[in-house]
């Protein structure tokens, strides 16, 4: 591959988000910034082949994009407005060229990226818009990649992005990092978006593909960015740790025939030790701040699994205790299900904890509840009841690979007696 093409791809993945963030601040216009950045990349395709890859691709792209933005304004706006804007831009440009010449000043760029993250994840935007915008602007995904990942047409994705940017502009969603008072809630929102993206990639809610790796990689990149930009927020690190520890099992999770391999059957030698190490390191840093939260606790649970050399050596009492604590932060029925299973595996009466959940309307379509119920029934010798529960779980599963695994599980539970 041409080295300049590789450099462009890398710049797109690694630098585009930061450059876009800076441009939005400098130009005060989301759509203009995006178009200008697009122009700059087009110029890079020609320019980097002809003149070589610049030492600082990010700075090159920013400078060229600014000039392209000025060109666009000249072409598009009315005369009086153009004169005014060009004047402002000219002043800002000069000041900023000075700034760009100042090497290694990460401050303004970091601030810009934070602003961009919080804007893309603003609660006033529909959740699908937040996901698409975040992935597009910061996650390094192209529109075609987004379309494939979410099984939508490119035009649907494009429309979603256009509408979101329009809302940002017309409703005046501010381009800023929230004030200290709002930051915790808004950060929770950002982390929720990143986690949603990760789960979409890891769990694949429909269809037969079990994992969509582009989304996982992207969400981990985003998680790293947020953790780096907000080092004093342990939940950001907690989320990163959780994603790394979970993703470390990605290869082991899919069998040679594409079938789903659950945690207790996975070949642990396929788990990525580098991701586990990084995940543990991030978790340690988070926990040191002594401000527990749901992501740190979920990461801690994942870390206990990562510590076990085999499924049989899993420290289930510790996991049960962690779920107990997690319920304090996330009193969701899903966590109750997981806690019940952990209690059962730790030797306690998990079934007793699980039974009331079967009537919980919030868990009405929740397949894992019935799969867990079936599993616990099977282990305690209730064959027929287990079979019924497996039937229910299979009915509720929307994933072909998962259904296949449930059928196999049901079959082997029947054979066991």
């Amino acid at each position: 591959m041409n080295s300049h093409r590789a450099a462009i791809d890398r710049a797109y993945r690694e630098e585009a988000g930061a450059v876009l963030a800076t441009l939005i601040r400098q130009l005060g216009d989301f759509a203009l910034a995006e178009d200008a950045l697009h122009d700059a990349f087009a110029a890079a395709v020609i320019g980097w082949e002809r003149d070589g890859v610049p030492d600082r691709p990010g700075a090159w792209l920013t400078t060229v994009a600014r000039r392209r933005a000025i060109d666009r304004l000249r072409r598009e706006r009315g005369l009086a407005e153009r004169v005014r804007e060009l004047g402002e831009l000219g002043e800002r440009s000069a000041a900023l060229d000075e700034l760009a010449a100042d090497n290694g000043d990460a401050g303004p760029i970091a601030d810009d990226q934070l602003r961009l993250i919080f804007t893309c994840c603003h609660p006033a935007l529909a959740i699908e818009a937040r996901v698409a915008l975040t992935l597009r602007c910061l996650g390094g995904l192209t529109t075609p990649q987004l379309a494939r990942a979410f099984l939508l047409s490119e035009s649907t994705i494009a429309q979603r992005l256009v509408r979101a940017k329009r809302k940002i502009a017309v409703a005046r969603i501010p381009y800023r990092v929230p004030e200290a008072g709002d930051l915790p809630e808004r950060l929770t929102g950002v982390l929720a978006v990143v986690y949603l993206i990760f789960n979409e990639g890891y769990l694949a809610s429909s269809g037969d593909a079990l994992v969509r790796s582009e989304l996982c990689d992207s969400s981990i990149r985003l998680g790293r960015l947020v953790a780096e930009l907000l080092p004093q927020e342990p939940e950001a690190r907690g989320l990163l740790a959780l994603m790394l520890l979970t993703d470390s099992r990605r290869t082991a999770r899919v069998g040679p025939g594409g079938q789903y391999v659950p945690l207790d059957e996975q070949d642990r030698s396929l788990w990525s030790t580098s991701q586990i190490e990084e995940g543990r390191a991030q978790l340690d840093l988070a926990v040191a701040r002594r401000a527990p939260g749901r992501f740190q606790l979920q990461a801690a649970i994942a870390a206990v699994h990562a510590d076990a050399r085999s499924a049989a050596q899993t420290d289930w009492p510790q996991i049960a205790g962690l779920y107990e604590k997690l319920l304090e932060f996330d009193a969701s029925p899903v966590v109750e299900v997981n806690r019940a299973v952990a209690v059962a595996f730790a030797g306690g009466d998990g079934l007793a904890r699980l039974r009331p959940l079967l009537d919980d309307p919030r868990l009405a379509g929740y397949q894992p509840l019935h799969a867990a119920h079936a599993e616990l029934l099977s282990r305690s010798g209730h064959r027929d009841a287990a079979a019924t529960a497996y039937e229910r779980a299979i009915e509720l599963s929307s994933n072909g690979v998962e259904r296949e695994w449930l059928r196999e599980r049901a079959a082997s539970a029947q054979a066991r007696s």
């Binding site: 006033a124 017309v170 409703a171 005046r172 969603i173 501010p174 800023r176 929230p178 709002d182």
Partner: protein
């Protein structure tokens, strides 16, 4: 930039007219009105008579119709509005969240179109 705040309420759940809860709510609206004026953000606003007093005009197939009642029989109905002038949506949302009727209602925050010139 101006935002229109539309106050919607579920009239079946709102306080009984003349009740202490209603008095408290009215006081809440008056206090918020004062706060908005003091902050210099209030452009205008009114409370509205209940939806049972509304009349809707429509035109279908060239015929103008006059119909008793609000434009749609929804659970939440328009009860009042305010127009505020604030720098951005976040500022508007902070004011919207202070509305006293939010226990049984909602506030829609709609940007007012800015006309050139």
């Amino acid at each position: 930039m101006q935002y229109l705040l539309l106050f919607y309420s579920d009239y079946e759940q709102s306080p009984e007219p003349g009740s202490p809860e209603e008095m408290a709510e009215i006081e809440g609206f008056i206090a918020l009105d004062g706060e908005m004026r003091e902050a210099g953000v209030l452009v205008g606003g009114e409370a509205l008579e209940p939806p049972t007093t509304a009349t809707t005009v429509r035109r279908t197939s060239g015929e103008t119709l006059v119909i008793d009642g609000p434009f749609a029989e929804t659970k939440e109905q328009l009860g009042g509005y305010a127009v505020i002038d604030v720098p951005d949506l976040d500022a508007a949302l902070v004011w919207a969240a202070k509305l006293p009727h939010l226990d049984y209602g909602s506030v829609e925050v709609r940007p007012v179109m800015e006309m050139p010139g």
